[in-house]
Symmetry: C2
């Protein structure tokens, strides 16, 4: 079962391979004889010819594939994003190669090199901590590139993100309006700007009111299962009456602790999550959370990327999308 080549089609149709190529690519249609064209199309059909993508790409210097490096593809946030980006790319005739850095900078760098070796036409990146110079270097090499979720304020690179500061600010206002007096904030110990913005927004909001206080606990990403329980225990000890989880993984670890210790929400302590997960469905009470517009983010990222691919001289564009504060996940459709 040999591979069918352009040459085989040409032979069968009794023409040169150039003719087959022209017909297949719809070029010189005004010049080519209708009968010949039809003969070629028939041969293509009969032999079930499929062009070799590698050869095409090599010649055209375009692979019609995009790369997406997620922060952690096992995380719902990433996988849903991947799904949307994949669909968008697909619709435009592009394939998507997905990688997961697992928040490791060396791994991130390796993946980028892999993708570039494979000559992807553009990159969508959820960049891990400390990867700013790396991103800068890519930009200097004029590689079409869009950051998603995370971004570096000192870098002028196209990006899609949400209003982390405002979202947190508003969420805390809501908690205070609900009468919470002492708010605990859980965040990663990180330099990632978007996460710190979440904390800053929360703090600024709480500072406005002098009857409410807060305490902020930093968690090492790789020690979630140890440090989150400790932090929550400490908070509860301090009389915290609301906890703000600034990421979904922190939230899940936190809720697991609360459940294991029979601490009920919102009666004993109330909670607020950044990001939505299916797990909320299984908790007996509504759990309010900040929803990111995943679909819009993915679509916008692909859109910005295509823009750049079409015109490398275009200036960077930072797109900031609005989040929404959702009171409950339950009973939405029943």
């Amino acid at each position: 079962m040999k591979k069918v080549l352009l040459r085989d089609v040409a032979e069968k149709a009794g023409v040169s391979i150039a003719m087959v190529s022209y017909v297949l690519n719809g070029q010189k249609t005004d010049r080519i004889n209708k009968d010949t064209a039809q003969r070629i199309r028939n041969a293509v059909e009969e032999l079930n010819y499929r062009p070799n993508f590698l050869a095409q790409s090599l010649k055209l210097k375009k692979t019609f594939s995009l790369g997406f490096i997620a922060a952690d593809i096992a995380n719902t946030f990433s996988s849903q994003l991947a799904r949307i980006i994949s669909d968008e790319a697909d619709q435009a005739g592009y394939a998507l190669i997905i990688g997961s850095s697992d928040e490791s900078k060396p791994r991130f760098e390796r993946l980028i090199n892999q993708l570039l070796n494979r000559q992807v036409d553009g990159l969508i990146l959820a960049a891990p901590e400390g990867s700013d110079e790396l991103i800068k270097a890519l930009q200097d090499r004029k590689i079409p590139l869009v950051l998603i979720d995370r971004y570096f304020p000192e870098l002028s690179v196209s990006s899609v993100s949400v209003n982390n500061y405002q979202a947190s600010f508003d969420a805390m206002s809501q908690l205070m309006k609900d009468g919470r007096k002492k708010i605990g904030i859980l965040v990663y110990d990180t330099t990632l700007h978007h996460l710190n913005e979440r904390v800053r927004g929360a703090q600024d909001s709480i500072i406005h009111s002098d009857s409410v206080s807060y305490e902020c606990h930093s968690i090492q990403e790789d020690l979630i299962e140890q440090e989150v329980p400790a932090a929550i225990a400490a908070m509860l000890n301090e009389g915290v009456d609301a906890i703000y989880f600034t990421s979904n993984k922190l939230g899940i670890a936190g809720m697991r602790y609360l459940m294991n210790h029979q601490i009920t929400v919102p009666t004993q302590v109330s909670t607020l999550f950044f990001d939505e997960t299916e797990v909320f469905d299984f908790y007996p009470s509504p759990l309010p959370f900040i929803r990111q517009p995943l679909a819009d983010m993915g679509k916008k990222a692909v859109e910005l990327l295509f823009k750049q691919m079409n015109d490398a001289t275009l200036p960077a564009e930072a797109c900031v999308l609005e989040t929404s504060l959702v009171q409950s996940h339950l009973n939405v459709d029943q």
Copy 2:
């Protein structure tokens, strides 16, 4: 910022491009002058040369990439599998291109063609309903291929799956041992063999005991949100005291219904799930489930695929892995 080519390196080192290629690929090491080799390596380093993957692949007729088509990448089962397969491929120096058929056969076919056009070296497929002839055709074309999760008993293709029948059989035995008398089974209305095996195993198990009865409800995949509530309502009406959800999506939809109607588990009705999800963490009582050995499945699939890629004449190998019945997800690590 022009791309650095083999030619540029050769020029810089004052040798032919063949020499550079030989040095880079570690060939003819006994012949090549040590100094020349070093000079070439220096030039490679200084110019930061990266080989063009397309050109390499075209020449070598090998792309060092695998394709994985998931049933639904937004489903935890698929995304975790993707993660494992991706890691395994990565370790072997292969990239993974991921697609999601969303259980649609036409989409599945399109994805396969895309992947083959891109000359992937092998495929790992979670095949949707009715795709048996398609798989057969691929096999006839001698395309290295491993089925995962789903398989077709009438086809002799390499596959990795779990003991669906036995898992269900044992799970039902456990429910009966716990005193359940009337068991409801929820399954998709499908011809997918692995799902039907789950039902068959359950039925065979229950039939053994004449004091226990069961009823089985078939759900249309695209109407889950309507049909699952209806089925559960009907079951409860019939006095069912245990429900077996044969897939995680069915389980989640089912639990959402139970929660919205304040029906508690296991006091009012007990449950059993095929597949594990993070959502179980958030339910106040332990929820028993059948666990599939995801990591083993992914690893085995990659292993079988590599085997085939290395020797196309090898016979198909069906690998059936053992599941485990887990009583509770909670308190495992605290």
